[in-house]
């Protein structure tokens, strides 16, 4: 079933690749370049899933997760952190902020589709 997904990343290449993979799996995608823009778009639309980078200008991914979790409409919406970092400390920080999962770049497109279908079931 088609889901509305928000992707947040300051890299245009990553945003385009995420959009390509998600659209090929039948989902609709809206993109944002940083956490601040992501939060604005999340307030303007009701997304079924949010995939965000961690390291970004203006607002990083973990701050975005905390801000979204403070909004009643996003308390239970899955949020995935997609990042180059894989340290346990950062993962714990993401988990404490309220993220649903942690994906390390470069992502495997088939694995991403699999994870998306699991968390949006």
């Amino acid at each position: 079933m088609s889901k509305l997904v928000l992707t947040v990343d300051d890299s245009a290449a990553i945003r385009e690749m995420l959009a390509y993979v998600l659209k090929s799996a039948g989902h609709r995608v809206i993109e944002a370049e940083d956490g601040m823009e992501g939060l604005q778009k999340a307030l303007a639309n009701q997304f079924d899933l949010i995939i965000t980078d961690q390291s970004m200008p203006k607002m990083d991914g973990i701050t975005l997760v905390k801000a979204l979790r403070a909004l009643p409409q996003y308390t239970s919406v899955p949020i995935l952190l997609l990042t180059t970092e894989s340290s346990d400390g950062m993962k714990d920080e993401g988990r404490s902020a309220g993220a649903t999962g942690w994906l390390v770049k470069p992502f495997d497109p088939n694995k991403l589709i699999d994870v998306v279908s699991k968390v949006t079931r």
Partner: protein, 167 residues
Amino acid sequence: MSHPESGADQQGNTAELTSLLGQATAALDLQCRAAHFELRQTQRLLSDATRRLLDCFHAASRELADQTLGTPAARAGENLLAASQHLQFSDLVRQLLNSTEERVDGLLRVSERLQELLRASTTPGPQSALQLAYEKRAFLEALADLEGCGSTRVHQSDMKAGEAELF
């Protein structure tokens, strides 16, 4: 047999040391500026190459969408999906280059402060002690800033796919 150095010898040694340090910092400065330029050039080239790759990727995707489903089209679709993983290299490289550029910028600042420090240490005059103290502090600050330069969190050294973990 050693002899105590005379005042003239000490002055000569200091002058020689100052000259050597001056040469070293000039060379350091030259190399840092060259590396800085090369990094910027690499960033531009990488950005252009990625843009072209993405354009090709989307064009191929549009062409495939126009075809009826068959084995060659399905195979091409799988290749496009795989390419979406490989194209992510540009983001990893971009982060690494940003970090290296930050380091080189830090080195340049240290080099500039060191040259100012050397200039102040060899300039006579009533304000020289004050100027020297200022330059020493500025040099040490630039050196301290250098430690915080370059903070890449990219650990990947190949294009193997990353892990996925659900909490």
